[in-house]
């Protein structure tokens, strides 16, 4: 069964605006990761947040994690046209659940110049 669900499915913004994507999941996790996929390419790892962390930053990326609500958000500040891509959250399950990484369906971000 699908673990993560992203919201919105598609997001279109102007360059310079902030983009916020949300991810919800169903079971307990070790960590949650965000990946980016450019058209026709493989996924690229962006950031990992552990289950005992609440917020993490990397450059223009800010990730939050609320384990009580089983949700995470990815904020991209001052977006650029090059940020246009699909963004996926992925949950690394508890050891007792096999430890495999399960992906959501992604948010398609379009940043217009």
């Amino acid at each position: 069964s699908q673990q993560g669900e992203e919201d919105p499915q598609a997001l279109s913004i102007q360059e310079g605006e902030n983009a916020t994507m949300n991810c919800s999941y169903k079971t307990s996790i070790n960590n949650l990761q965000w990946y980016r996929q450019n058209s026709g390419r493989g996924l690229v790892h962006l950031i990992l947040i552990r289950s005992n962390e609440r917020e993490k930053h990397s450059g223009r990326l800010r990730v939050t994690l609320d384990t009580s609500k089983k949700s995470s958000s990815l904020l991209i500040t001052a977006s650029r046209a090059a940020d246009t891509a699909s963004y996926f959250c992925a949950t690394d399950l508890d050891y007792n659940q096999g430890g495999k990484l399960i992906f959501g369906q992604g948010t398609e971000l379009s940043v217009k110049p």
Binding site: Q37, L43, Q105
Partner: protein, 111 residues
């Protein structure tokens, strides 16, 4: 220097044929994976190998058989291809201290 490389990039074939996709990683990772991405971009794990040993084998038809000759290679062989097998197949690798590194995918089209 492609870290995870898979070939071919495109594969068009007819129903009933047998085909293989090859994957190699030069990152020194000990775990390799095959993922399938459907037309709605939903990415689902198929197999995972750790040091040549199968550790994850999701509910995948027996027509799909992974083979890992060494920990740097993980190939995927598909027998009797069906229309529903059309998708993009991604190879990936990781280690205990590294997140997933993906190849650029193989777009399989079964006609």
């Amino acid at each position: 220097d492609t870290a995870v490389s898979q070939t071919p990039k495109y594969l068009v074939t007819q129903m009933g044929n047998d085909k293989s996709i090859k994957c190699e990683q030069n990152l020194g990772h000990d775990t390799m994976y095959w993922y399938k991405q459907d037309s709605k971009k939903f990415l689902k794990i198929m197999f995972s190998y750790n040091n040549k040993e199968l550790i994850i084998n999701e509910t995948v038809p027996n027509r799909f058989s992974p083979k890992s000759p060494d920990k740097a290679h993980l190939n995927l062989h598909i027998n009797s291809l069906e229309l529903g097998d059309s998708a993009v197949y991604f190879c990936a690798s990781s280690s205990r201290v590294s997140p997933l590194h993906f190849g650029n995918g193989t777009r399989l089209t079964v006609t």
